[in-house]
Symmetry: D2
Subunit: 311 residues, 4 copies
C-alpha cells in the first residue's frame, strides 16, 4: 500500500505536479488523482471514449473546455441534455452569460430578466435571440429531409455554427456524434413543436438514434466513459456501453450521494453489478464539484498525453 | 414569528400529529411540515397538480404509493423516466425486487444476475420477462396506428396492465397523462429500436408530446408541482408549467445540493428567477431522502384532505 | 432476502406502522427501520446506552424529546457540546427560540439581535439572561468545592433547574452523567473564564472526567450507542466505548458524507476497523436530517418497548 | 457583473493561472477563486489569521502543508482537535500512514490492526509508539510545573519534536498558539488521565486557555479566519473572534450542508447574524473536499504573496 506524503508548496507549481502530489494526500484528492490516471490509460489504450455532462456545465465556462476536448480527440461520443445544446448555440451566437451569487433576490432577478442557475445568470435576451435563429436553422434542415435522428439533427446544427469554442461545432467537424435522448426538454423542444405545427411531416426520430448509439462501438473494442454529473446523460452513455459489453475504463464525477439510490449518485462499483462497467475495469468515482475536479484531472491527463504525442 | 416547541412522545402517535409537531422543531422538519401544508393548499385550491419523480423511486416501494396518489386524484400530470416506466411494468407483471445493502460485493451480484440500485436489487429475470412481453404489446399498438406521441403510447401500455398498484394502470384509467421526454433511455429504448428495425414506419413522436404537455393546463388555471428528486423529470414538469405561466404551488424534495448549480438541486427560490414558479407562490424545498420525506408529507396531507372529503 | 413492498396510505396511520412499512420501501427508509430495530434490541438486551448529539439539536425542539428519553431510561450516558448545555439552560429559564428561514437577511438579523442557526433564531436576550444566571450558579458550586470534573459540574447545574423538559434537569435526577469534553467552547467558556479570574483556584478538570467516562460501563456489559450528528460528541462517546471493548449495538444518524473522511461522516462499518463497535454488532447508519429521522425511529422504538413494559 | 469565460487548456498551466481562470467558470470554482482572493487580502492587510482544521486533515498529507503555512506566517492562531495533535506527533516520530479504500473489509482491517479514516489507514503501531513517548513527555512537563493551559502544554510538546513538517514543531518555534478545547477527546485524553492517576495535582486548565484565546487579538486589529471543515475547531476559532469584535476576512471550506443547521455547515452569511464576522467583511464559503480545495486556493495565494515579497 502507498504511504501518505506531506504536501508542500513551492513557487509556481504546475497543475500536473499538484494533481500527482494529491494522489498521496488522502480523501477525494486521492480519488481525483486516480481519475486522472484512468483518463490517461483509456486514451493510451485507444479506447472509444464516451463523454456525458449535464446542461449546467454548459452554462458554465467548462463549455469551451469540452469543445477543446472534442477537438483533441478526447471524446468519441457525447451525451448531454437539451439545455446543454441550446446554451452552446446561444454562446456560439455571441451571447454572454454572467456570474452572480447563490443567494440572490430571485424576484428582483426575474424582474430584470435574469434567469439564475446556481451562481450563474442567463439573460432572457439569449432565449429571444435563440428563438430568432433556430426556426431558420430548422427550415434549412427540413429542406434536406423530413425525418432526423437526434444526433443527425445536432450534427447539422453544429455545421451551421462558426465558433471554435462550441461543442456542437467541434463535434460536427470531428465526426463525434452528440446524443440527447431528451431533446424536447428545453426551449429547443418548444421550437421543434412550433416547427412541427407548420410542418407535420417533420419528425425527430429518437428511436432511430438508439441504433446510432449502438453503432458507436463494438463488443471487441476497448471502451471508456467519463461521466460528469448524473441524470439522463450519464445513464444514456452507460446504457450504450452496457449493450456493447460494458466499459473497460470509467471515471464518474458527481456531487450526488450514493445513499440516495439515484442514478446520478451511482458509483462505478454499483455499475459492476449491472455489467455497465467490466469487473476487471479501471474505475474511479470522485465526489465534488465538476467545475473544479474535472479541469484538474483533465489538465494533468492532457499534459501527460501531450508529452507522449497523443494529443 | 413562531416559537420552537419541545417535541414529546406519547404512545401511538399518528403520522399526521407527528408531522404537525415537526413544524415546530427546526431544520428540515420545519420544511417538511411546510411542504405538507403546500400540498394541502394546492389540492384545496383545485390546482392542476404536476407530479415528477425519478426511476429509482419506482424501483422502491414508493411505486404503489404513487399509483394510489393518481387514483386519489392527487396528480393530474405525471413526468418520469424510461426506467420508471419499465420497472412499473415489470412489477405489474409480477416481478419482485429485493432489499440488499449499499455496501455489496458488486462483482458477486453480477455473477448472480442481480442489478443493484443503492440498497435495492433488480433480478435479471425481470428484464428477460419484460423483453418477452413488450414486443407483443408494441405489435398491438402498431396495429392501431403507426405514429405515437410518448404519452399516448404510455396510456396504451397502461390499459394493457392489470395491477391496481401500477402507476401506468392508474394513470391510464384516470386520464392522467404520463410524460417521459427520454423514452428511449432504458431497456424500453432498446426494444423500441428492435421493433422499429422490423417496422420502419413506426414512429415515437416526442415533439408531438410537447403539444400534449402544453395542453395539460392553461395560464388562468391554478397550477401546482410536486417534484421528487431531480433530473429530466423535474425539469420537464417545470418547463410545462413555465410555458403556461408558472406554478402557484411548489414542493421540491431532493438530496441534491444547491451549491452544485444543478437542475436536480435547484430550489423553489431559483425557480422564481425564471418564472417557473410565481413570485407570489406557496413553495417549500425539503432536503433529504424522498423515501422517508414524501410519505410523511403526503400521508399527513391525505389525512387532512380526507377529513374535508377531498380525497 | 426481503422483498420490496408497495407502500399504501390508509387513514390515520400511526408512526410505528409507517416506520415498519418503510423497512420494505428502499434507500434510507430501509436504514431508518433498521435503526429503529437496533434501538429496540439495545434496550431489550439491557445494554448501557451512550447517547450523543450536537448543540444545534438542542436549539431545535428535539431538546424536550431528548430530556424525555433520559427520563424513560433510554440513555445512560450523554455526550454533547457547550452550546447544547447553555441552550438547554436558557430554555429552562424560560427563553423562547424562534423559527426563521434558511435564506435570511443576516445583516438585518444582526441589527435585530437575532442569531441564526440554520432556520432557527436565538435572541440575544437569551444570552444576556444566561449571563445573569450562570455566575450565581457558579458561585454556589464554588462554595461546595473548588475542583470539578465537567460531568460533576453539569450535574450540579442540572439540580438547580426546574424544567421537566430540560436535558440537564432529567440527567441530574436520573443519575445520567453528561460529558462535554469541550466545555469552554461557548458562552459558558467565557463565563467560566470570568469566574476563574476572580477565583483562580476554581478548576474545571477535564482529565478527571476521562476516568468518569471509563467508569460508565465495563468490558463485560452490553453497550450501545445512538450518535446523532457528528463532531466531538460522537467521537467522545465512541472513545468511551472503544476503551471498554466497543459497542454491541450502534445507530448513527448524520447528514455528513462518508467521502469526506470526517468523523462526523464515519459509518458503523468504518468503526469496526477500530474496534469502536464490535465485528458482530447490530448496527445501522442512516443518512439525513436528525430532526425527522430520529423522532421516527425512536417513537416506533418507544411504542414497541412500551408494549413490552420496558418504558 | 462579470462574464463567464470559456476555459481552455494549454500545456503546463500552473496552479495560479488555473485558479484565476476558475473564477470565470461558475459554481464552486467561482467561490474557490473568491476564497483565494480573500486569503490574499487578509495577509496584505496584515490581519491576525485564525486557522482551524479537523483531525482527519492531519491524518492526510495536508499536515505538512499546514506546518509550512505556519512557518510562512500564514496562520497566527491555530485551533484543532485532540486527534490532530496526536497524529501530528505520531508522524513526527516517524510513523507512516497509508492510503486505502473507502470500501474496505473493515473486519479484516481490524484483524490486521489497521484503523480506517475514510480512504486512509492508521496502523495500531502508531498508537503503541505514541503511548511509549507521551508519558515521558508529560513527565518532563510536570517537572517544570503542575498546571498547564492547553496551549502552553501543546507548545511544550512542540518544542520536544524534531520534524520540520510537524504542525506542533512549527507552531512552537513561530510563537503560534495551538488551541484544542477538547484536549481529552482522543488517545491523548487517555494518557493524560493515566498520568493524572499517578500525579493528582497535574492539571490541564481549559478555562485558563480561554484567556489566552482572547489575548490573541484585539478589537482594533484586523482579523481573518480560515476554517477548514467544521466542528469544535471551527466554532472555537470563531468564538475567539466574536468576543474580539468579529472577523474582517473569512474563508470557510466544508462538505457539510447548510440545510442541516449544523455549525460545520454554517456559512459566512449565517455568521453575520451573530457578529462572528463583520457585516462589511470579505468572505467566501466554498463547498467541497478540503484536500483538493485548500491546496488550490492557498497555492495561488502563496504564489501571489511571494511575488509581493510577503511570504
Amino acid at each position: 500500500m502507498e504511504r501518505i506524503d506531506d504536501l508542500k508548496w513551492k513557487k509556481g507549481m504546475d497543475v500536473s505536479e499538484l494533481v500527482e502530489k494529491l494522489g498521496r494526500v488522502g480523501f477525494q484528492s486521492v480519488e481525483l488523482a486516480r481519475a486522472s490516471d484512468v483518463i490517461i490509460k483509456m486514451k493510451r489504450e485507444k479506447a472509444r471514449i464516451y463523454f456525458s455532462f449535464t446542461s449546467n456545465m454548459v452554462t458554465s465556462g467548462l463549455r469551451g473546455f469540452f469543445a477543446q476536448m472534442i477537438k483533441l480527440k478526447m471524446a468519441d461520443v457525447v451525451v448531454t441534455t437539451a439545455g446543454g445544446i441550446e446554451e452552446d448555440i446561444m454562446k456560439a451566437m455571441g451571447d454572454k452569460f454572467l456570474i452572480g451569487r447563490f443567494r440572490s433576490n430571485d424576484i428582483e432577478l426575474h424582474e430584470k430578466g435574469m434567469n439564475r442557475v446556481g451562481n450563474l445568470l442567463i439573460p432572457n435576451d439569449a432565449y429571444v435571440r435563440f428563438e430568432g435563429a433556430i426556426s431558420g436553422m430548422l427550415s434549412k434542415l427540413y429542406r434536406k429531409k423530413k425525418r432526423y435522428a437526434v444526433s443527425e439533427l445536432l450534427k447539422e446544427l453544429g455545421l451551421m455554427l462558426k465558433d471554435e469554442n462550441s461543442i456542437l461545432y467541434q463535434a460536427a467537424r470531428n465526426n463525434v456524434p452528440i446524443f440527447c435522448p431528451a431533446i424536447t426538454d428545453g426551449a429547443l423542444g418548444f421550437h421543434l413543436f412550433m416547427f412541427q405545427q407548420e410542418h407535420p411531416d417533420f419528425i425527430v426520430d429518437v428511436v432511430k438514434d438508439f441504433q446510432n448509439l449502438l453503432a458507436c462501438s463494438s463488443h471487441d473494442e476497448k471502451k471508456g466513459i467519463i461521466a460528469l454529473g448524473g441524470g439522463v446523460s450519464k445513464h444514456h452513455a452507460i446504457l450504450g456501453l452496457l449493450i456493447n459489453g460494458g466499459a473497460d475504463y470509467a471515471v464518474y464525477m458527481t456531487t450526488a450521494r450514493e445513499v440516495s439510490g439515484s442514478m446520478s449518485a451511482a458509483t462505478t462499483d454499483e455499475a459492476k453489478s449491472w455489467g455497465k462497467i467490466k469487473d476487471s475495469s479501471d474505475a474511479a468515482t470522485v465526489n465534488g464539484d465538476v467545475s473544479i475536479l474535472f479541469p484538474l484531472a483533465m489538465i494533468r491527463a492532457l499534459d501527460a498525453l501531450s508529452r507522449e504525442g497523443m494529443v
